[in-house]
Amino acid sequence: MLNDDQRPKGGEEPRGDDFWDVEIEPETDSALERLGAALRQRSSALDPELDHRVMATIRHSPRGYFRAALRWWTQPRPVRISPIGVLATVGALAILLVAVGRYFGGRGDATAVTAVASATGAATSDTRIIRFVISAPRASRVNVVGDFNGWDTQATPLTPVGEAGVWTVEVTLTPGRHEYAFLIDGREWRPDPSTPKAASDDYGSPNSVIIVGASST
């Protein structure tokens, strides 16, 4: 009888007249030995390029999606282009750049913004009139927001002056220290570059400081 190790593996079942409980030892046969030798000899002439073909296939067959993606990004490959394709690509890039420029340009330009706050006179014995001026050529509206108007973003709009993108407003302030900033188009906070910045800011954007008094600037 066969033990478990001798039984066929891989789910093979006995078929037909397979007698699994009978030990079979095929006798050696010189004719079959000669046949085997002849087959070995015939097999000696193999294609020497097989190894190269296998390795070439492997080198061009990435294993797994990650390696495929990595190879796609890192492996140089020939690219065929046509003049019309180049023109279309350049045109698309130009349109994209213009659109991006218009979007960000409409929000004001940091390098184009200049401002000045100055005392223009005394409203009463206890107050001063301060003129705020800012240059923001691409802005569509500008407000000055500070502790003097309760940080109301709508309370003190500036008025455009001429065609140069200069905005101005006059505000009556009491003597003392005031913090403020400009709000461009309702979303972009700008400090006044002509005055000192406040030491701290609770909201993440710096404020400017103006001292109003007998010797206010």
Partner: protein, 187 residues
């Protein structure tokens, strides 16, 4: 440079990203397994395609080789499956292969190389005899008589029990012996 490495070590190198090390496994098993495939499929072109396919499939799924020490057995099973798939696809052709001697003679480029036997009809007789065997019997006969493997090694390689392999070899031997004797009587 890796020629002294075991199969397991080479497999681990390949899994670590050194794909070029796989060439050693290809070189190590191409002759033995191509010989098997040639005689299983009956022509060299199909055999080399099956072997190339098996090598590439093995590389792609190398992580599923649970016993890298016996990479050869794992590769052999992949190859055996590829050969069976090709045989199934070519079933009609194989029937012709067995029966139409003249068609075989007219397609020398697609046949296995000759043995150099002094009898020019001997190779053709071998082809006919092998092709007439059941694929399982043919496989067992090739491993035993052509690759000269022990039954224990054959069992490791194929995953089939020793007794079943002995039975297959015996049946193949009986069949081949009968065909060869028949041919000798005809001559």
């Amino acid at each position: 440079m890796y020629s002294t490495l075991s199969d397991e070590a080479v497999v681990r190198r390949v899994l670590a990203g050194d794909d070029e090390a796989y060439a050693l496994l290809v070189a190590r098993y191409r002759v033995r397994f191509t010989r098997y495939a040639v005689h299983m499929l009956g022509n060299r072109e199909d055999a080399e395609e099956a072997l190339q396919d098996a090598f590439v499939r093995a590389w792609r799924s190398l992580r599923r080789c649970r016993d890298p020490e016996h990479f050869d057995a794992w590769l052999f099973r992949i190859l055996a499956n590829r050969c069976r798939t090709r045989m199934a696809r070519r079933k009609r052709y194989e029937a012709t292969f067995v029966q139409d001697v003249r068609a075989l003679s007219s397609a020398p480029a697609d046949r296995p190389p000759t043995s150099g036997h002094e009898d020019p009809g001997y190779d053709l007789a071998i082809d006919r005899a092998l092709a007439s065997l059941d694929p399982d019997q043919r496989e067992a006969f090739l491993l035993k008589y052509v690759d000269q493997m022990s039954y224990e090694a054959m069992a490791t390689l194929t995953g089939v029990g020793v007794s079943a392999l002995k039975m297959r070899v015996k049946r193949a031997a009986d069949r081949l012996r009968g065909l060869l004797e028949e041919r000798a009587h005809v001559e």
